[in-house]
Each structure stands twice: as C-alpha cells, then as structure tokens.
C-alpha cells in the first residue's frame, strides 16, 4: 500500500523541521483517536450535528499532514453528519478510524526514523 501521507510535501510544509513535526505528530496521536471516539459517541446518540462537528475538526487536523486518503475519509463522515444521514455513518467512521490509525503509525515511524 502506498504511503498514507506525502513525505516530500510534509517535509516542505514543516520546513524540514523534524522536531516540529514530531511535536505535531504527537498531538495528532493523542487528539485524533479521541475525536474518533467523539464521532462514535455522537452516532450512538443520534447527534448528526455532533458527528459533523467532530469529523470536521478531525479532518482539519489531518489536513495538516498531507494525507489525502485519511482526509477524504474524515470528509466523508463530516458530510454524513452534516446531511443528517447517520445510517452509513458508522461504517464510514470505522473506515476513518482505520485510516487514522494507519496514518498515525506511519507518521510516528517516519519521525522516529529521522529523529
């Protein structure tokens, strides 16, 4: 499978500052899954707006890391939430969760390799 994020873009974005990147990756590692949890909770509660908000926030976070697929997954959930159609939301959320964890792993690996 191709890389979840674009190395060159990301490095460019942080001006090749690995330390900075490490910090941000750390934040993503922490906050990202908790947002996923928020989404799941909101789906359970039938809170479509909440789903949308959380997904949007997660998308925004992911967007900093030049990871188009993960970002798209987040966008998908966001759209579902905003449209009020929660039926497919659960499945989409799991996809998102998978993508997110994959991204986090890869980022961490990347950072560790260059630290």
């Amino acid at each position: 499978m191709a890389q979840a994020f674009s190395e060159t873009e990301l490095m460019d974005r942080v001006d090749n500052d690995i330390a900075f990147l490490a910090e941000t990756v750390e934040m993503l590692t922490g906050d990202g899954p908790s947002l996923v949890a928020d989404i799941r909770r909101a789906i359970g509660a039938g809170d479509a707006a909440g789903v949308g908000r959380a997904a949007h926030a997660l998308k925004g976070m992911i967007s900093n890391f030049c990871a188009p697929r993960a970002q798209a997954a987040a966008l998908e959930v966001e759209k579902l939430g905003k449209s009020g159609d929660l039926a497919p939301a659960a499945a989409a959320t799991e996809t998102l969760a998978t993508m997110l964890s994959g991204l986090i792993d890869e980022l961490n690996a990347f950072v560790k390799a260059r630290a």
């Binding site: 974005r13 993503l28 925004g60 976070m61 900093n64």
Partner: protein, 1105 residues
C-alpha cells in the same frame, strides 16, 4: 343714306318705271294679239264657214229641186251626186265649226239650231228622195213643196241669225280690241309722264344733297390749306361718303397740325438746346432755360433746381418772374412738388391752388396761377435737375411736346456741363495730391536714412531697389554698388543657393515677420567677412505697377549671439549639476531609509513592551522625532527624485470618496487638536471609480491640508472636489483647499511654489517645515496633467486650488444608490452642527442619496426644528448631530431628545472629530444609533444611515464598521500583533509556527467567544479567524466584533481560515464583516499574501507626508 344709295334710288325709279311699262306693253300687246287673232282667226273663219255651210245647203236645196224637176235622169243623177257631195261638205263644215269655231253660248245655241234645222231638212230631203226613188215623183215634189219650203225658210232664218250673230261678234271684238288699245296707249303716256316728273324732282334733291356738302368741304380744305388748323372740319359725323371724306380731311388736318407742332417744337427745342450748351456754369444754364422756355410755355413764373448728386439736397439755380431768383426754401428730394418730381423722376403738377400760394404778375396786374408743374431733367434714370413752372393755364400738348423734346437734350447738356466742371475740380485736386505725395516721399526718404537698422528694399526678382545709410555702413558697400544688384550678394555663399527659393515663398505669403525663425542668419560684407544678423521682413505694395517690394531690416547680432551662447553654456552646466545632485540623492534614498526604518521599528517594538512612564515618554519623543525626521527625509528625497526626473506616476484603480476619507481622517485629529474644523465634500457628479496615481494625489492633498491646518488657528479647513470636464473616459477634477488661516501676502505667494521658500523666513521658525512641500506638490500636480494656483487674503485665509486628470475606472461603489433612494423616500433627516460648512457637506451627501434634510445650527434650534416638523406632519426620521458644539453638545442634545415626549424615539447619529474612551458608555446609555468620526467617509455614512433607517428588522444587512484613526505608521508594518482564533491544537501549532516564524506576535483564542473577548481587551493589527469553532464560530465572532466596532473603537482586519473552499463561503465571510480569507490547511505564502493584501486594503492612508 350714302350718295351711292341716293343715286341708286334715283335711277331706280325710271328703271322700274321702264320695266313696268315694258311689261305692261308686252302684256297688252299679247292680249291685243289674242283678240286680233280671235277676230282674224276665229271670227272670220267662222263667218266663212257659216257662209260655206249656207252655200252648201243652198246648193243642196237647189240640187234637190233640180233633181226633182229635171226629167233628165242624168241631170237628176248629177244633181243628186252634187247633193250628196254637199251633204258631206256640210257635215265636215259642221264638224270643223264644232271643233273650234264656237265662240259663245249664243253661238253654240244658234249652231245647234242650225244643225237641227239642217237635220230636219236632211230628213225631209231623204224622204223626198226616197219618194223619188220609189218613183213617187209627185209625192216627192209635193213633199218638197210642203216641207221643204218651210224647212228651207227655217234654215235660212237660222243661218241668217247665226251669221248675223257671228258678224256682230266679230265687229264687236274688233271694236273692243281697238278700244283697249286706245286706253292702254293713254295709260302708258300718263305713267311715263309721271315717272319722268318724279325722277326729275328726286334728281334735283339728290344732286343738291351731294353738291352742297362737297362745296363746304372744299371750303374747309381751303381754310386748312391756308394754315388754320383750328376750324373744325364739317360733316365729320356724317355717315355717308361725305362723312368719310370729311374725316379724311380731318385726319389730314390733324396731320398737318401735328407736323406744324413738331416743327415748332423742334425748332424751339433746337434753339433752346444750343443756347443751353453754350452755358458755362450751372446757374447760367438755369437762367437760359427759364428765360427761353417760359415764354414759349405761355408765360408765367418758373425756376430751375439742381439736384446734387448723391445727396438729398436740391438748390435753385435760376428763376423767371421771381422776386429773388436765387433764394427760396431749398427743397429736398421727395419734399414738395420739385422734390417729388426729382425723387420720382417724373413730371408732377398741382392744380386748384389757393390764392396765397404764389402770384404771377406782370407790370400791369397779378393773380394766382391755376397751374403749377415741375418736370425733371433725367440722365440714366435719375433726375439731375427740375424745371418748375406756374401759369394761368396748363401747358398744352404743343408745349408739353416741346418740354419732352427739349428736356432730354437739356439733361444731357447739363450732365455734361456738370461733368466738365467736376473734371476741372478733380484735376485741381489731383494737382494738390501730387504735391502732397511729393512732400511725403521726402519725409519717407528722411526716415529711411535716419533708421538705425540697415533697410534694404528689393523687388520681386530680388534686385535691390533702395538702401539707406546704415546699410552702407553695416555692409561696407556704397549705395550705387548695391542698387540693381541681386540681394543674394549679401547672403553668405553656403546659403546663397537656397535664398531665391525663400524669397519666392515669402512673396507668395507676404507678412510682417522675422525672417527664418529658428535659423542662424548671417550676412556677408563687401570685404567677405560674415556676421550674424537678425532680419525682419515687411511687404510694401507699390502703386505704380512695380509689383510687391520687400523691405528687409538688418541688425547686427554678433554681440547678442555671443552673450546668448555664454548663457546657454552656463545654464547647461547648472542643469547638469542639478541632475547629478538629484541622481545622487535619489540613489541615496534606499540607503537613508533603511536605518530610519530600523530606528522606527525598534522604537515601536520597544513601545509595545512594558515600560515605565518615563521610559515611555522618552521613547514617544524618539518616535515623533523619528517621524518628523523621516518625513523630512521623504520630502528631500521626493524633491530630488522629481528634479532628477525620476518620478513616475503609478496609476491604479481606486475609489475616490473612500480614498479621500481615508486620507483626511488622520489629519482630522490634528485639526481637532487645534480646534479647527476639517471637512471635505465631493461634488455629486464626480465619478467615484477612477484610475490614477492616488498615492501622489494623496501626497498633494495631505501637503495642502497639512499646511492649511498648520497655518490656521481657528475656523475651518475645507477641501472641495469638483468635476471640471469629462471627455470620453478622461476627467479633469479640481481640488480646492480653503482655510481661514493667516493668509499669504501676494508678493510672497509667487515665491511659494519654488523650492526651499516659505512665505517668510519667520514662518519657518514658527511653523517648521522644509518648504519643499508646495514645490513637490506643484511638480506632482503638473505631472498629473494639471495646474496649481493660490488665492489668498492676508488675515482672512487662503485657497489652494489644483487640477488633475484621471481616467474613469470601472470599479463600482459599495452601497447601492437605488436601495438607498427607495429606503429614504419620503423620509427626512435633521442635520445639526454649529459649523455651516459641515452642515452643507452633510446635506449634500444626504440629498444626493435622496434623503431630505433640515438644518439647525445648535441643539436648541434643532429641537425647535423637530417640533416644527412634527407639527407639520412630517416627522424627522433621523437626527445627525455634531458632538462638539458650543452651549449644548451632542450628548446633551441626544439626552434632550430622549427625554422629549414626542421625539424620544428618533434615532440619533453622532459625528465627532476624535474618540475618547468614556464616550462609549454614554453612547450606549443614550441609545445612540451610530457614532462616526469626522470627516465622514461617504460610504460609511450611507451604510450607517441606511442601517439606522432600515430599523432592527434589517439586521441581515451587516453594518459596516466605522473608520477610525488608522495607524498612520510611517513605515510599512513588518511585525504585527495577530489574534489567532483556532480551536484545533494542531492547526494552532502550524499557524503559530508560520506566524511567529515571520516575526509576528500571536495571541491565541480557542473559540469565537474568546476571540471576541480578547479583541476587546487588546488591540491587534490582524485577526485570523477559523470559521468553524465550538461555542461561537468565526462568522458570529466576526459579526460581534464588527458590531462592537461600530461604536468607534477601531476596525481590525479579520482574515477567515476555512476548510470549505466553496463559493458561498467567501460571501458569508465577507457578509460577516471579514476582510479576506485563506483556505485550510494554511500555507505560508498564501497566508502572507492575503495578509498583505488585506492590510493594504484596509490600511491605505498609511500616511506619507
């Protein structure tokens, strides 16, 4: 009846008589013939026939007897034969008679008796014979004897009567014929006699009727032949040949009379004409005319008048029978009889004159005339003279004829006389003029010789005709060496070839001018040396056919040229020096500015830190000194750039009114501090969207207004902008900056626009400044295609006016005019300000958008106006009031309105020149709808007025915040105080890295509410607002901030950060009051570009001084 007719009548009588008689005779003769014929033919024959019948009968009787008696049978037979033969004869004769010989009834009766008798005898005879035949001779004889005798006697008796009758008839016829013949003959004679008689009588009468008139006519002709044309010809009215003849005689008489008249006329006309021709003067002409003509006209009083050519006046030149021949009221053309005669070129007369008019007199007696007439003497359809004549009788045809014959000749004669006299006059005149000409030529020659310049007169071929003494001196020739020579000998060889061509061109367009403008002219002397000259040419048009001459005036300009050359070289050197200097300075600008920027930037940074009051004081001083120094440096550099010709205009599209407002607002603080009102107005017809170097325009305006404020202690400074002309897409605007300051002395005014000068050196000390501002402004204005001028009265104030040219842009202004007009319809606003100019400007703006206005100059009168309006049923919808007013200020006024029972809900907008912190509370307390800083930005005013008048329901229309003291940093900002509103920590981190990495100071807010709070408590240069945040999102936060800012606390630029890059998002952000946006994830260059754009947009007015 004509003679012919009479004669015909006369002759016709005998003729007719003759004819009648002839006819009568003829008829009579015919009748006679008939009668005679009857006698001849008929009667005689009938008598003869009767005779024969008798004889035959007798013969028969005899024969019968014979037969009877005779014993001889032969004899008896013979007798019987003859008897028988006679019987046939008798029958035949009876037949003949019956055929044509019976004349009348009696004759017919007797004839038939005869026939009867004959028949009876025949019967008897037949019986006798029968008897005989039977042999009964005795019986036969007995019968014969018995019946035959009786019958025979009967027969004889009848025959006798018959014969007698016819004889009588014949005799009677003859007598009758004779008788009628006789009577006819008698009648004939009588008629002839009568006819003859009548004819003779008539003949006499007719002949007399012819001969008498002829005789009289003859006598008449004799009279005429004797020369008497007066006696009338008789019988001219007769209708016969006499009449015709008489008329012909009459005609002949007239002709003869006419001939006689003409002879008389011609004779006299010729005689008088020749007398007139001999006249030597007009008066003599007149005298001869009157004296010759008047008697011929039958005597009377007369006069001759001459009509002066080309003038209205008429003068009397002669008179006859007048007391004083040469006087009397001189008539004018058209006036009076003579005037009328002359004016209308026709004879005129008056009749039925009153007695007092004039008297014609002779030695014996006098009487008024019955006729006055005037005749013109005409030459070429105009009257040159007139003859007036008064008499007792009107001139007859002969006299008229004389006048008609004479006057044309007389007129020609007079005309010729006058011409001759005129010619003599002209000759005398010409002689005089000739003298004068000679004298003036002398004068001219003198002038020529005395002239300080060399004057050379040449003809069309370029030959020298005349020169003066100076020419000889200047060119080293003697006069006679030059005259006749071509003028080219004076022209240097190198230009000689072209000279004839130049000459020719000049001759085609001759005028007084300098020769060869722009050319270096030289002349060459006799000795070959050249020298520079100035040549002036003037054409002379000679009269005597020599064509056009040219006068060339030469002046030696050698010395002058030398001086000019020196000056030129010196000027060039000086210019080069200036250019070099300016270039040097221009290049130095960067070098100079950099350390200045450093000083100012650091000072500002230091000011942002925690400082003690003392330290802050010192640093503020450093900052203002640095500001002043920088402005000085900018002036110097600008000026040198202009001198070095290195200023270029940088045209951009801009909105005029907004730019003006932005330009003026920093200055307003300065003005307010001094207590001077600063106002501006832009005429409504000035287009708002323009293309030009607004930067330079602002530079000039700031310079002028700055000066105005500087030199004004109290009163106002007003900038007015108006449209001068618009052609196509170019406009020329005129900007006037008027102040009520100390004014400028006119003498000093002239020096003002020169560099380094101020009105007087004392002002430099008092007011500071480099003195470069106006010079730069002048250069800039001229660069922008305009002019600058000054009007000033010392002590009253000054007005600087300049014009600039711009192109019209395509950007459209912000607020919709139509919306405004719709909203404002029927509404009115009260404008209150103690300064009249301000009121006027506000009114202009509001009226322009369709809002009616009422003015008041104080709070007190404002209340009065409110009352008045509501009493009139037209309540005011809005009050716009100034804050700083004497007596009652804006707040107190608002208070009064809020407390008023009727007006308390009228919205109030406050305008003030500066903002103080404490005002905010009062504004809220008094429910003031909006507070704007002066001078008011038009678009801002409109938006706020619309917002206020639209009411709370229209909150969808987001209020546009008020413009305040935009940081007038002299340096382009490099470090910003940025408020970052972002909830997401990762995003925060990234943004912080970018921003802090660029050296900016960043404060973080985690949501909209925090952002609002933070921005209220601290002031930031920029807000980066994430759109989607919990608690309060970016849009709402932005709206809140803007709403708060509408109270006049400053407008902070807000840039949205949004992950949704969809079309509607942008609009939403703008509607919420944001100024720009960047997409997320944020990229550094995109972000900074947008920051720069937004700051430039909002912060225009970063003042250059």
């Amino acid at each position: 009846m004509t003679i012919k007719q009479r004669l015909i009548l006369l002759l016709s009588i005998p003729l007719i008589t003759l004819c009648t008689l002839g006819a009568y005779v003829y008829i009579s003769a015919a009748q006679l013939e008939r009668e005679v014929r009857m006698v001849a033919d008929t009667q005689i024959e009938s008598l003869a026939t009767i005779g024969r019948i008798s004889r035959s009968l007798n013969a028969r009787r005899i024969n019968l007897r014979n037969c009877l008696i005779s014993q001889d049978s032969d004899e008896c037979a013979k007798a019987r034969e003859a008897f028988e033969a006679d019987r046939g004869n008798v029958v035949e004769l009876f037949r003949v008679y019956a055929d044509r010989l019976v004349t009348n009834d009696e004759d017919a009766r007797l004839f038939s008796q005869m026939q009867e008798a004959t028949r009876a005898w025949n019967t008897m005879a037949a019986n006798v014979l029968a008897d005989l035949d039977l042999g009964k001779r005795e019986q036969a004889v007995e019968r014969l004897g018995r019946e035959g005798d009786d019958l025979g006697v009967q027969l004889d008796r009848v025959a006798g009567a018959w014969l007698e009758l016819n004889e009588d008839a014949g005799r009677e016829m003859g007598a009758t014929a004779l008788g009628s013949l006789e009577s006819r003959r008698r009648l004939l004679v009588a008629v002839c006699m009568a006819a003859l008689g009548i004819t003779a009588l008539l003949g006499v009468i007719v002949l007399r009727s012819i001969s008498r008139p002829l005789d009289r006519l003859r006598r008449s002709v004799e009279t005429i032949a004797k020369g008497d044309y007066q006696a009338p010809v008789p019988f001219t009215a007769a209708s016969d040949e006499i009449g015709t003849l008489a008329r012909s005689v009459d005609v002949l008489k007239s002709g003869a009379a006419e001939t006689e008249r003409q002879r008389w006329t011609k004779l006299n006309a010729a005689r008088i004409a020749s007398a007139l021709q001999a006249a030597a003067t007009v008066e003599e002409f007149g005298r001869r005319l009157v004296s010759e003509l008047t008697p011929l006209l039958g005597g009377g009083v007369s006069a001759v008048y001459e009509a002066a050519p080309e003038s209205e006046s008429i003068r009397r030149v002669a008179g006859f029978g007048l007391a004083d021949a040469g006087s009397g009221a001189a008539p004018r053309r058209g006036e009076g009889l003579v005037g009328e005669c002359i004016a209308s070129v026709a004879a005129a007369n008056l009749t039925g004159l009153p007695p007092a008019y004039l008297t014609v007199s002779s030695g014996i007696g006098s009487a008024p005339p019955t006729f006055v007439g005037a005749w013109p003497l005409v030459v070429e359809n105009s009257a040159i003279a007139a003859f007036e004549f008064a008499s007792f009788r009107e001139p007859g045809p002969r006299e008229q004829g004389l006048i008609e014959e004479l006057f044309p000749i007389a007129a020609i004669s007079l005309d010729r006389l006058r011409r001759n006299l005129r010619t003599q006059e002209l000759l005398a005149e010409m002689q005089r003029q000739s003298e004068a000409l000679r004298a003036s030529e002398e004068e001219f020659r003198t002038l020529l010789e005395a002239a300080p310049d060399a004057l050379i007169i040449s003809d069309e071929q370029g030959r020298i005709v005349l020169v003066n003494a100076q020419t000889e001196r200047l060119l080293g020739y003697r006069r006679d060496e030059l005259i006749g020579q071509p003028i080219e000998i004076l022209v240097p060889e190198r230009t000689r070839a072209a000279h004839p061509g130049l000459r020719r061109r000049y001759h085609e367009n001759p005028e007084v001018r300098a020769m060869g403008s722009g050319m270096e002219l030289a002349a060459v002397r006799k000795d070959g040396t050249e020298f520079s000259v100035e040549i002036s040419l003037s054409p002379l048009h000679k009269r005597d056919g020599r064509g056009m001459l040219v006068c060339s005036s030469l002046r030696d300009t050698t010395e002058r040229m030398r001086v000019q050359d020196e000056l030129r070289r010196a000027k060039q050197k000086a210019e080069e020096a200036t250019v070099a200097k300016s270039a040097f300075l221009a290049n130095m600008s960067h070098e100079i500015r950099t350390p200045m920027n450093g000083i100012m930037g650091m000072t500002e940074l230091a000011l942002d830190t925690d400082l003690s009051t003392e330290q802050r004081d010192y640093l503020n001083t450093v900052k203002s000194s640095a500001d002043a120094l920088l402005s000085l440096i900018n002036d110097i550099l600008d000026f040198s750039k202009i001198e070095a010709g290195r200023i270029e205009l940088d045209p951009v599209e801009f909105l005029l009114r907004d730019s003006m407002a932005d330009t003026l607002s920093p200055l307003s603080l300065r003005a307010a501090t001094k207590g001077v009102e600063l106002a501006y107005d832009v005429a409504p017809d000035v287009p708002d969207a323009l293309v030009g170097d607004v930067y330079r325009l602002r530079q000039v305006i700031v310079n002028l207004i700055g000066n105005a404020i500087k030199f004004t202690e109290h009163g106002e400074v007003v900038m007015s902008l108006r449209l001068v002309e618009r052609s196509g897409d170019e406009v020329m605007l005129e900007v006037a900056v008027r102040d009520t300051g100390i004014g400028i002395d006119p003498a000093a005014a002239a020096r003002l626009f020169k560099a380094f000068e101020q009105a007087e050196s004392s002002t430099t000390r008092k007011y500071g400044g480099t003195g470069l501002g106006l010079a730069i402004s002048k250069q800039l204005v001229e660069l922008m295609g305009g002019q600058i001028r000054l009007e000033s009265t010392p002590g009253s104030g000054s007005t600087f006016t300049f014009s600039v040219r711009f192109k019209v842009g395509t950007a459209r202004p912000s607020a919709s005019h139509d919306d405004a007009a719709k909203l404002f319809e029927g509404k009115s606003a009260l404008v209150v300000d103690d300064n009249r100019t301000n009121r006027r400007i506000l009114e202009t703006m509001l009226n322009h958008w369709g809002l009616k206005t009422i003015q008041a100059d104080s709070a007190k009168s404002g209340l009065t106006m409110l009352d008045r309006a509501s009493n009139a049923g037209q309540s005011v919808s809005l009050v716009v009031t100034d804050l700083h007013m004497p007596d009652t200020d804006g707040f107190e006024f608002a208070q009064a309105i809020r407390s008023h029972p009727i007006h308390r809900s009228v919205p109030v907008m406050l305008l003030s020149s500066s903002g103080t912190a404490g005002d905010q509370a009062r504004i809220v307390e008094l429910g003031i709808a909006a507070r704007l800083l002066k001078p008011v930005k038009q678009s801002l005013l409109l938006d706020n007025v619309m917002r206020v008048l639209a009411g709370p329901a229209r909150s969808a229309h987001v209020p546009v915040p008020v413009s305040d003291n935009v940081h007038p940093s002299a340096v382009a900002p490099k470090t910003l105080r940025i408020l970052l509103a972002e909830d997401n920590p990762v995003n925060q981190k990234f943004a912080l890295r970018v921003l802090e990495g660029a050296g900016h100071g960043v404060t973080v807010a985690n949501n909209g509410r925090e952002a609002v709070e933070r921005s209220a408590s601290e002031s930031f240069d920029l807000v980066l607002m994430d759109v989607q945040m919990p608690e309060m999102d970016g849009l709402e936060a932005s709206r809140t901030i803007r709403a708060r800012e509408s109270n006049g606390t400053g407008r902070v630029p807000i840039i949205a950060m949004t992950a949704n890059a969809m079309k509607g998002d942008r609009e939403m952000c703008i509607d919420s009051g944001m100024d720009g946006y960047v997409p997320k994830p944020v990229k550094r260059d995109v972000l900074f570009a947008e920051i720069e754009r937004v700051l430039k947009e909002v912060g225009r007015g970063a003042g250059v001084q």
